[in-house]
Symmetry: C2
Subunit: 361 residues, 2 copies
């Protein structure tokens, strides 16, 4: 091999869920929202004129930052925006996990964490979940270079209580703790304010806490790539320094406009969230009746296993029937399927297929 290849950073990349190009499938594999975004979003995108297209966007994305700050009752200096929460998390790993000490995250969790750690040569240690797929607090009390986990966790959907999260943050004041809340808006008791178990309630008390959220799931905007982090002004300043050292203008004109419009239509999204929660409840009951086992999910997906059929076989059978779910071929979870909550019609089709399949196997 030519010697320039010796100088290349070699990595094993993250594998995203498939985005199939065929139509007429039921797509329950990447946790997209089954409902369209607010009509205000499309209007906002259509309103982008030639002058905005031809000019660089505001590098600070101030309109979007201000909208998010207003929505969550924090200062604009406490808000960072990026190209989806993956971009926000990648920049956060690069910025905050630079101590050379091992960072900690759960063994079963968002499978991008170890990829970022490898990309930036950050050492890490993973911690097991308990038998109910819960994150065990005391595992996160030892010396470390930083902590990150999702709440609700992925792909389990299991939610951690805010008092437990606070204990982890309080015992780790010398490192940055990142709570990845991609799915928190789907948790029960969220009435349009800040979800009861969201660590956003803690950002003004802990300057080492960074909360990451996204427009991809609860705001039906996966296609626009908008994520954000909220934390102390000091954390956000460091994060912005790194961002401005990477790419001055990460958010294009359409994503800034789409994000602002989405924030404006809170009522529409509250309604969609309630529909997803209702469908989740109904689907859980139906799956339980079919003999599936799962821990209670507070996200827009279910993580299920069945004592009589292999998850991998079921995954293939579903696929052949035009229903795509997510399967992780990974020790500890290789007999589980992650199923996104779709519309009621989509879940009915799924349940009908599963009923049939179980009768035959």
């Amino acid at each position: 091999m030519p010697s320039w290849e010796n100088n290349v950073r070699k990595v094993t990349p993250y594998t995203p869920g498939e985005q199939p190009k065929i139509r007429n499938i039921i797509k329950l594999n990447t946790n997209e929202n089954p409902y369209p975004p607010s009509p205000l979003v499309k209007q906002a995108i259509e309103g982008i004129g030639d002058d905005l297209l031809r000019r660089y966007p505001d590098p600070a994305s101030s309109m979007l930052v201000d909208a998010i700050a207003g929505r969550y009752g924090v200062e604009p200096e406490q808000v960072f925006v990026g190209v989806g929460s993956d971009d926000v998390l990648a920049m956060s790993f690069l910025t905050f996990f630079a101590s050379g000490r091992e960072i900690l995250f759960p063994e079963i969790t968002y499978s991008f964490y170890d990829v970022w750690a490898d990309l930036f040569r950050i050492p890490y240690e993973t911690k097991k979940l308990d038998a109910e797929f819960r994150i065990v607090n005391r595992d996160y009390y030892g010396e470390n270079g930083g902590i990150v986990f999702p709440n609700p966790n992925a792909p389990t959907g299991v939610l951690k209580r805010l008092d437990e999260i606070e204990e982890i943050i309080a015992r780790n004041r010398d490192v940055v703790v990142i709570i990845d809340e991609a799915y928190i808006d789907f948790s029960d008791g969220h009435d349009g304010g800040i979800p009861p178990q969201s660590a956003l309630h803690l950002v003004d008390r802990y300057d080492n806490l960074l909360v990451v959220q996204t427009f991809s799931k609860s705001r039906s905007l996966a296609g626009m790539r908008i994520g954000y982090a909220i934390g102390s002004a000091k954390l956000i300043r460091y994060l912005n320094d790194a961002k401005y050292s990477f790419n001055s203008y990460t958010m294009n004109q359409t994503s800034i406009a789409a994000g602002v419009a989405a924030i404006e239509d809170q009522a529409y999204y509250a309604e969609c969230l309630q529909k997803v929660r209702d469908t989740r409840k109904r689907t859980q009951s139906a799956l339980a009746a079919l003999g599936f086992c799962f821990h209670p999910s507070q996200a827009n997906f279910l993580f299920v296993t069945h004592p009589d059929v292999k998850a991998k076989d079921l995954f293939s059978a579903l696929r052949q029937a035009g229903i795509i779910v997510r399967y992780f071929d990974k020790p500890g979870i290789d007999n589980y399927l992650r199923i996104t909550i779709g519309t009621d019609e989509e879940m009915d089709a799924l349940l009908a297929f599963l009923g049939d399949y179980l009768k035959k196997h």
Copy 2:
């Protein structure tokens, strides 16, 4: 300071040119195209439906990659796309300059190069330009960890001949050489094919060559953030591995659609490019008549100095008159102004002001 700050990666970020929020100014500071994008672009953005907004984009941006590959007569496997050429260059620094040896770039050049090097802890050495602001070939023949420079160079606008560039690549087969061609489409003799001095003519001969271009300048789409790199399939594979380890979906649905539409309307852009070149020629003559000195620019900006007035004073005076240009307070170029080529009307206003100012000073 709390101890978590000890673990933070501290950097001095790049300072982008100002994006002023006031109207009625003549903005000649960030090298945007004065002409609007092709009408096909706005149509394409308006055609993005709710289903595309709510779903993740194609992580490979295949439609855009295919369009670029078709346009330049290369294979799709030879094309990488990113959020502006800054994103492409940042990922390239991270991926290709990992040897620990010093990378080389000119002392006077795009001021983001040393920022990326610092962010990723890449050692570097800068090489002086000659008295005519030319990159000196022999400076790039010693041992190094990689090479990067723009052609035409920024902020000088000076173009290097393709045979000289080939010599640098040929003598550095053991490292990756990046030619940053953000402005190449504005060079003379570009008739819609591949510009005569573009290193794109060499990509099939040198597997260590990466050519980076952008939609921001010649395609009037700075607001949409679309950049790309073309090189050997092997280079692009490494770059994609790093990209998929950072953020699976960097290009949102609107930027994919806008990029494809822009590629389709080659004739429109060829016309705009000719207008910019004509205005450049006319402006150069007028500035020369006013006593300004500059080296011939092949970009959409001029880098000028005047023997009788200080660039810094002129910059402030222009600003007060509502004309914004770019000034770099940096040794060697601190008596120069970089002036973007705007419309004929904008350049007339600039020239009128300069004529007046020089009479008074």
